[in-house]
């Protein structure tokens, strides 16, 4: 139990008036665009990433419609290439990477550790502006004619051969990259310096651990990407090249530098998702998470080992065979902590008192899909098999299971779980459950056939394909329609709840985190008096 403490002499009275929610602070444009409140900034992020999610989704829908028939008949090959590039760039940099950290992390981390805000509120707002600026530049590049390099920008195609707006897109991604660096910096400093009295490291909720590990990756890996993109842009602009063999460079150098960021980036996307699941599952199983310390160590282990495995994207690239062996071994090792987490979530259900509210359905769906995605990763980590499977639909299916089945599922679960806290309203439980089931089914129908396609030899990024693959492509496209409906449903009923939902009590799920101690929606500085923490998280009881 937390107990109030009265060590607030240095804080002015006006800021701690309880009861005034952060939403009632004004609805003028200026009150939002100039806010430094982490909760309002989180909502700014939520609105913008939702926009980008649906933009990326439109590109995905067009891709799936095109692939329903073997002939490339809906759009031209160039348009198709620009569509999958737009889909990748938007979904990776403008949706997945900021999704859970910048929305849920921003809103919840200070509350979970018992702080009034992040350490640098103005920097936090600046991150959002950088993100919007970068997003706008990327959109500009896409509207001005598009980019056809794929989100990976492989050289020398991107430097010498593509005739599209590569430099503009690079600049956009670069700016978004700085936004994530600053967010990561803010989180790291906040977790280190602003924990409430009594909030030791092993009393932190796993969501905080996950976002902390994510922030480390953001801060240490993103700059490498930024510099690499600068070099690509320089090559393209001045017709010189350290990545271009025609000018003495090495394209594999680009791949090393690119994947040094972009593999850890997968963990940027999935670690926070693991954090969300680790909050939801204990709450609805009414019991403490099984093996808390192992879970925390596993998060750190994934974050660290995640830095060492990037070469598994390059097994057939002409990389040295020995380097391939090292990277393969390390890739198997990173699967161990992931496996630990899955087992621990399952064990958390044992002897629980499980109720199946919408957030729980999303979280269970996350565990299932993440398990499949993770296990198929082993196929790709096994060197000889990767020779057959890399750059096929097997890879496409694998990372969609992790990034969509994993991250998006958990993101939606988190949105549902904390919706009452964020908005002060309850959504319709029945619709929530229905949407979770539709999304789960639609997702599997979309992406499971792609595993089979990949093993059968269907290469990725193909605008047209041999007829024998059509059956599975049609199944996948049908699944995509279901999935699209599933994603539109929450948009509808959550928006509806904003106006017509029943007011939420402070703690509708009887959860134990510090964020549930505050009112719903929380007051401006979260806590009238800073809490003192006297025990670890997840103090649930089955009775």
């Amino acid at each position: 139990m937390t107990r109030p403490q009265s060590d607030l002499s240095l804080i002015e009275e006006g800021d701690t008036r309880p009861g005034r929610s952060y939403l009632s602070e004004g609805w003028t444009l200026g009150s939002w665009l100039g806010t430094r409140d982490h909760k309002r900034i989180a909502l700014l992020y939520a609105a913008s990433i939702t926009l980008f999610f649906f933009l990326g989704g439109i590109a995905a829908a067009l891709i799936r419609i095109e692939l329903a028939t073997p002939q490339g008949d809906l759009v031209s090959a160039d348009t198709y290439n620009k569509l999958f590039t737009a889909h990748g760039v938007i979904m990776v940099w403008l949706f997945l990477i900021p999704s859970i950290p910048s929305v849920l992390g921003n809103f919840l981390m200070p509350m979970m550790i018992g702080a009034r805000d992040l350490a640098f509120p103005r920097l936090n707002l600046a991150s959002w502006y950088l993100y919007m600026l970068g997003g706008a530049i990327v959109l500009w590049a896409l509207l001005a004619g598009g980019v056809d390099t794929g989100w990976t920008f492989y050289t020398p195609f991107s430097t010498m051969f593509s005739n599209s707006h590569v430099v503009l897109a690079l600049v956009g991604v670069l700016v978004v990259g700085f936004s994530s660096i600053l967010t990561g910096l803010n989180f790291i400093v906040t977790v280190h310096t602003m924990r409430a009295p009594g909030m030791g490291w092993f009393r932190l909720p796993l969501f905080v651990w996950a976002n902390y590990a994510t922030s480390l990756i953001l801060v240490l890996a993103t700059p490498v990407l930024a510099m690499t993109l600068v070099l690509v842009a320089v090559e393209r602009l001045f017709q010189v090249g350290i990545f271009d063999p025609a000018l003495g460079g090495d394209p594999l150098l680009f791949q090393h530098l690119f994947w040094f960021y972009s593999h850890p980036a997968v963990y940027i996307m999935v670690l926070p998702a693991m954090g969300v699941a680790s909050e939801i599952i204990p709450c609805f199983a009414r019991r403490p998470v099984f093996g808390y310390r192992f879970m925390a160590y596993a998060i750190l282990a994934i974050g660290v080992i995640g830095f060492l495995v990037w070469g598994h994207h390059m097994f057939v690239s002409g990389q040295s065979v020995y380097a391939g062996m090292v990277f393969s071994l390390l890739s198997f090792m990173v699967a161990v902590p992931s496996a630990i987490k899955v087992f621990n979530w399952t064990a958390t259900l044992y002897k629980g008192r499980i109720s199946f509210s919408a957030p729980m359905l999303y979280a269970l769906g996350f565990v299932g899909l993440f398990t499949i995605g993770g296990l198929t990763g082993l196929f790709l980590a096994a060197l000889a098999l990767d020779v057959h499977l890399s750059d096929t639909y097997f890879v496409v299916a694998h990372f969609h299971y992790i990034m969509v089945g994993g991250s998006v599922m958990a993101y939606l679960g988190g949105i549902h779980f904390w919706w009452p806290k964020i908005t002060g309203r309850m959504y319709s439980e029945a619709w929530g459950r229905l949407a979770a089931v539709v999304i789960f089914a639609g997702f599997n129908l979309t992406f499971f056939p792609q595993y089979l396609l990949g093993y059968a030899g269907m290469p990725r990024r193909y605008h047209s394909y041999p007829e024998e693959f059509q059956l599975l492509h049609v199944l996948s496209s049908a699944g995509a329609v279901t999935l699209a409906i599933g994603y539109l449903m929450p948009l509808g009923y959550l928006a509806w709840s904003l106006r017509y939902g029943r007011p939420a009590p402070p703690n509708p799920w009887q959860a134990t985190g510090l964020e549930w101690q505050a009112a719903s929606p929380p007051p401006v500085h979260n806590f009238a008096q800073l809490p003192v923490v006297a025990r670890g998280p997840y103090a649930y009881h089955t009775d």
Partner: protein, 220 residues
């Protein structure tokens, strides 16, 4: 710390907490910046391993004298910056102000020398691209390697110059705001953060100097 009890931002519970958070944030930023230069350094390693002679030949085309004097200028500016931090911490604001002006001036001298060097590089056709034609020396088969060297040279020094420009602007702003005491003016903490940043920019140059200017000086 200054003797006056200073107020703190509302998200913190004490001035000490805020001060430490600021310093720590600056260090995290510096760690991130270090990685920012990572690809350049690794690209340089690639270059030296694959084109040892060409990179030595290219390095001989850089201006030894200007590079060395610039290093001295930057080291001295760092020293003055450290003095300014001490002065601000012990409450000697006018002294800190003067030192910051001096730091900014040295930074400016660095930029002028660097700009002059760029000018000479352009005149000697050392800018990579179709017009890349280094005079005297540089056999045909060394041209690709030399060109790669100059790409890295220009990207690295330009980025360094951008960082330095930001540093100069920060110094000027700090010096300007030092005119008035802390609640309105700038605190010793802020000078400390600016100092950390300035020293980091110095550290980058300390590594760039031998890598860009001193390779193969003795002839190859």
């Amino acid at each position: 710390m200054s003797t006056v009890k200073q107020p703190h931002a509302e998200q913190f519970t004490s001035r000490e907490q805020q001060s430490f958070a600021g310093t720590f944030g600056m260090w995290v930023f510096i760690a991130s910046e270090l990685l920012f230069f990572g690809p350049l350094l690794f690209g340089y390693l690639y270059l030296r391993v694959h084109y040892p002679e060409a990179s030595a030949a290219a390095s001989r085309h850089t201006d030894y004298l200007l590079g060395t004097s610039n290093t001295a200028v930057l080291l001295t500016s760092s020293f003055l910056m450290a003095l300014a931090g001490h002065a601000a911490e012990s409450g000697q604001r006018p002294r800190a102000m003067r030192l910051l002006w001096a730091v900014a001036a040295l930074g400016f001298v660095f930029l002028v020398l660097k700009g002059w060097e760029y000018h000479k590089d352009f005149q000697e056709n050392l800018f990579p691209g179709p017009g890349f034609r280094p005079e005297h020396g540089g056999r045909l088969q060394q041209l690709p390697g030399m060109q790669l060297f100059f790409i890295l040279y220009f990207v690295a020094t330009c980025l360094h110059a951008v960082h330095l420009t930001i540093g100069i602007l920060v110094c000027l702003a700090m010096a300007w705001r030092l005119r008035r005491p802390p609640p309105v003016g700038v605190s010793a903490d802020a000078i400390e953060y600016a100092g950390l940043y300035w020293h980091f920019v110095d550290v980058v140059w300390i590594f760039l100097y031998p890598l860009l200017y001193l390779v193969g000086r003795a002839g190859g």
